[in-house]
Subunit: 173 residues, 2 copies
Amino acid sequence: MTATDPALTALAQGWCALSLLHGRIEAHIERALQTKHGLSVREYSLLNTLSRQHDGEGGHLQMKQVADAVVLSQSATTRLVTRLEDRGLLKRYLCPTDRRGIYTDVSEAGARLLAEARPTNDTALREALDEAAKNPELAPLVRAVESAGTSGEPSHGPDESSDAGAEQVIVPA
Amino acid sequence: MTATDPALTALAQGWCALSLLHGRIEAHIERALQTKHGLSVREYSLLNTLSRQHDGEGGHLQMKQVADAVVLSQSATTRLVTRLEDRGLLKRYLCPTDRRGIYTDVSEAGARLLAEARPTNDTALREALDEAAKNPELAPLVRAVESAGTSGEPSHGPDESSDAGAEQVIVPA
DNA sequence: GCACGTTAAGTGCACCTGCAATCATCTGGA
DNA sequence: TCCAGATGATTGCAGGTGCACTTAACGTGC
């Protein structure tokens, strides 16, 4: 029964904590974004990711890359983009060089909504982290999250791209 | 547009990384558990949590506590428990002192399946972490996860209970 | 130029989830 | 004792997600 490798069991502990922390934070932000702006966490995440690409350079993203960035299946990404497009928050247009690929780009309305929602998101995140920090099991992870953004780059770094190895990078252009 | 508080933006970076890491790991483990044992990550997590309670003492959990432990709504928890009960992996019985509450407990078949699935889970977790560690943005979080289980307690510690403050503890009895 | 395999996006379907409403039970007060 | 408020579990319903499959387009070899 419990005769498993202790090292692996310890890892499972850490994963359990990570999962718990993620769930708590996501639930908290979800409520805040949903009630105040009618956005889900994933929708916000998508807008945020796309806008950041737009920020750095004219790097629009293809569906596949979007799917990888937000960790969703291609089908789910298709529908997510469709929903946001129907709401006028982003645009979809074919890639001229490869007609299979479809680029997505945030519209002005999308950028505006994102700007409105950003404070809500950040505040809710701060609250959720403070709440989680009270739990000794979660505290080390909370600290890791807090230092993740400040350590390497000054303001907004190279985002979460560069992938995990077996796949492609997120920022192509 | 981008005129937001840099400190909050940095936090968002960390949250983004956490979310990405969680998504990658979950997807990887999900595939492994699903194909080899017909279990979803949540189902495994539920069995694991319940079995740990059983391990320490005779602490069965009520639905509400289960819901909090796996970060699920009460309704989703009800159905999750129902599914596993239908498969004979756990039992449900009324609490004698409070007939509103319903205890859940892992059955022998559930414990067996959990024991079978544990190596799969741990291996997949190890793989996912190694994969994520290649990403410099995710590496610090990976290290935090790895050290989370080993630092405080010797083997299996007080699990992820103690809650985040505004709610109740997970291990009552 | 045409057939073959590969890759990107979208669709049908089944399943899981959260919210709101409901039922049963406990608790405190008149 | 009986009633109102609170809490735990469940259910109806709408919506999001993944898997398997289909369609469109690229690239290669003949």
